[in-house]
């Protein structure tokens, strides 16, 4: 939907998700997604947020700028620092809402981002009813895979999944600590283990770590896999084996949090009665 919009359109909403590795933005109207963008967070979260919002607006084909949007929800690590957002909401809530929108029968979500991972139980409306999140440890996150890609000389992180899937005998790698696992991989590499088998072992380790966390909750179908790591087919495969359930991956899994934020922006805007009320509730505006 790329029709020209007027300024101050009360029907345009946005979600922006500034995470550890990437910034994402989604623009929605009454009939769904109008545009989205993904870019690296870089060193300055505010610059990243401004840029990704601008890019999402351009891709939506709307002749509007950020100030014309009716309501914006921010999420991710930087959610409380974005001046243009009306309300910060945690990424756990946003992922639940976004996944429920894309998969209306979704009751369980695994989200693996650059620096954290979460398992989320949701009700029929996409409201969070229980969740777990990793504690001060990168072993179940995208960072684990990045570190291993560097050790195993895989230039493009996107190649990791296909290489892992080509393995016939995955190595056994520790899943308890990124740094210790790195040492283990270095030792195994020195012992002449096959590169693909090592990469597969790394994938199984990270999946196992997240599956243990997820099993603390009740895993009910449909289960959805979101976040940047969900693009990795090998992690999906090992996770499915570990939790014993098919995982549905959205077409663009990285934007699910931003999409949920945009949907929550629409909900927030419609439940607030007057502009005066909105302004009085906006610590970030």
């Amino acid at each position: 939907m790329n029709s020209k919009s007027t300024k101050n359109d009360p029907k345009l909403f946005a979600g922006v998700d500034v995470g550890a590795a990437t910034a994402k933005a989604v623009i929605i109207g009454d009939n769904g997604i109008l545009g989205y963008a993904v870019r690296s967070t870089g060193h300055d979260v505010k610059i990243a947020a401004d840029a990704v919002m601008q890019e999402a607006l351009e891709k939506s084909g709307l002749d509007v700028d950020v100030s014309d949007l009716a309501y914006i929800v921010s999420t991710g690590y930087a959610r409380r620092t974005l001046q243009f957002a009306h309300k910060p909401i945690t990424e756990i809530i946003c992922h639940a809402k976004g996944a429920n929108f894309l998969f209306p029968d979704c009751h369980f979500i695994i989200d693996m981002g650059g620096q954290d991972s979460k398992a989320i139980e949701v009700d029929d409306e996409g409201n969070v009813v229980n969740f777990v999140m990793n504690d001060k440890c990168a072993a179940g996150t995208g960072r684990f895979l990045e570190v291993m890609a560097h050790v195993l000389d895989v230039e493009d992180i996107a190649d990791m999944g296909p290489l892992a899937l080509s393995s016939r005998h995955p190595c056994s790698i520790s899943s308890t600590c990124t740094v210790f696992a790195e040492t283990e991989v270095v030792v195994l590499r020195g012992a002449g283990k096959d590169r693909a088998d090592l990469i597969a072992g790394v994938h199984r380790a990270v999946s196992s770590r997240v599956a243990v966390m997820a099993k603390a909750l009740t895993i009910r179908p449909e289960a959805v896999f979101t976040g940047g790591v969900a693009k990795n087919a090998a992690v999906k495969k090992f996770l499915e084996e570990a939790i014993g359930m098919e995982l549905h991956v959205p077409e663009e899994p990285q934007i699910v949090g931003a999409l949920g934020a945009a949907l929550l922006a629409r909900e927030e805007a419609t439940r607030l009665p007057a502009v005066e009320t909105i302004e009085s509730e906006l610590p970030h505006r």
């Binding site: 945690t90 990424e91 756990i92 809530i93 009813v129 229980n130 969740f131 999140m133 504690d135």
Partner: protein, 467 residues
Amino acid sequence: MAYYDELFKLCGFEEKEIEEERPRIEKTLARLGIVPDDMPSAQSWVKQNHDLSLVGVRKLLGAWLKELIDLVLAKDEGKKVVYFGFPAILGPGLMLSASSDDVLVSAPDMVLDHTMGQIFNKLTPILEAGEANGLPPGHALCSLWQAKIGGIIKGMVPMPDLALASSYFCDMGSKADDLVTALYGVPVAYIDGVMDSRWGEYPRYLPQRVSYLGAQINQALKKSEEVLGIEVAPDAWEKSQIDSRGYINNLLKLLDLMRADPVPISVVELELLEALSGSSTGRGIREGIKAMNILISELEERVKAGKGVTEKGAPRVMMASGHTSDPRVTSLVEDAGLAVPLTMVLAQVGGPKHPPKKTYSTPGETIADHELASGPVHGTDAMIKMFQSGAKVMKLDGFIANYLFNCRPASLTSHTQKEYLERTTGLPVLALETDNFDSRTYSAESLRTKVETFAYMLKKRKEASRN
């Protein structure tokens, strides 16, 4: 006017008190390495973290400072010093304290956390000194022990004449006290506790548990008499209970006030007064009771006026324990829009219990009878029953079962609590890994996403139940 007067006034000291105590204050600050340059940040830290509009809160901070002064100067003033670990079976310490004016019995780790942490914001160097002297991080002992050893090493608090080690809730304390013996030759009086009752036993307790624990306490008291060269006074228990009764009565009043919506006081301030009772057997707790008297009057006024620290109608949660040195971690829960009317101590006070039998003749059995009647010493089942009871009384919407990753009893039980409480009460439970004594490991920011998500969940549930 000295450089520290303003801070001490913020902490409830009257001008006259400062004047009377000035030489002791100055000696204490010098020993702690507190200098004029520390004052701006300390004042700002106290203002940032505490509700200083309440005189009772200021006086509570003052009570901690008075305990600190007495502790730091104890040896200079000719006193014998006894340390106990937190949380402890308090009875033996209370009896020793009540038996002689020349004995100071205290929990130096908690005193340092609440003063060097909550008031001066200079705890980290003390913890680092503990880490460099036998208690490296990540070795299953919480940072309270690092604070104790660090404080001794840095000469801030005196070397004790005796350590009272009891396996009460924390069963790692005796291991840390072994270190004090090994390094410095400090004698330890061990009290082998009877921590875990059978599931379902609470609030009843078996007489053989009283006998065993009582014998252990008697043995520890005997050792204390030998080491300290004092005799436990025949009326020591009765004397010690005068203060305890005042404190418990105030907690009961507070429990009633916390039923109000909005809740009239922050859980940060509750932590200040609750921790004091488990840390001081001397001036700190006596001053703390006076502060509570003032605070309760102030809170009654707030409740009458419908004033509180969170919005009316905010979801109400129980928080198992607060942060001893960095209140920002505890404040985070209220910042996220949750009211905290109940803590573990209040749940214990208001929870189901059988009164002590009061039929025992030895001091040890009397203390054991009292402790076993009061609750937490029973273990997970007792705690869960207290929480369940508290949920009804306080009309809770959820629980935050926060725990220290390096505290064996707390980390193990938090997940049992989550499973069981969710099943039996139908209320959500957030099992939150944190570090209640050391925010170097877990800062408020690192916990924010989990707490805000939980708060959002509870608000949605509450909205849905209203509709």
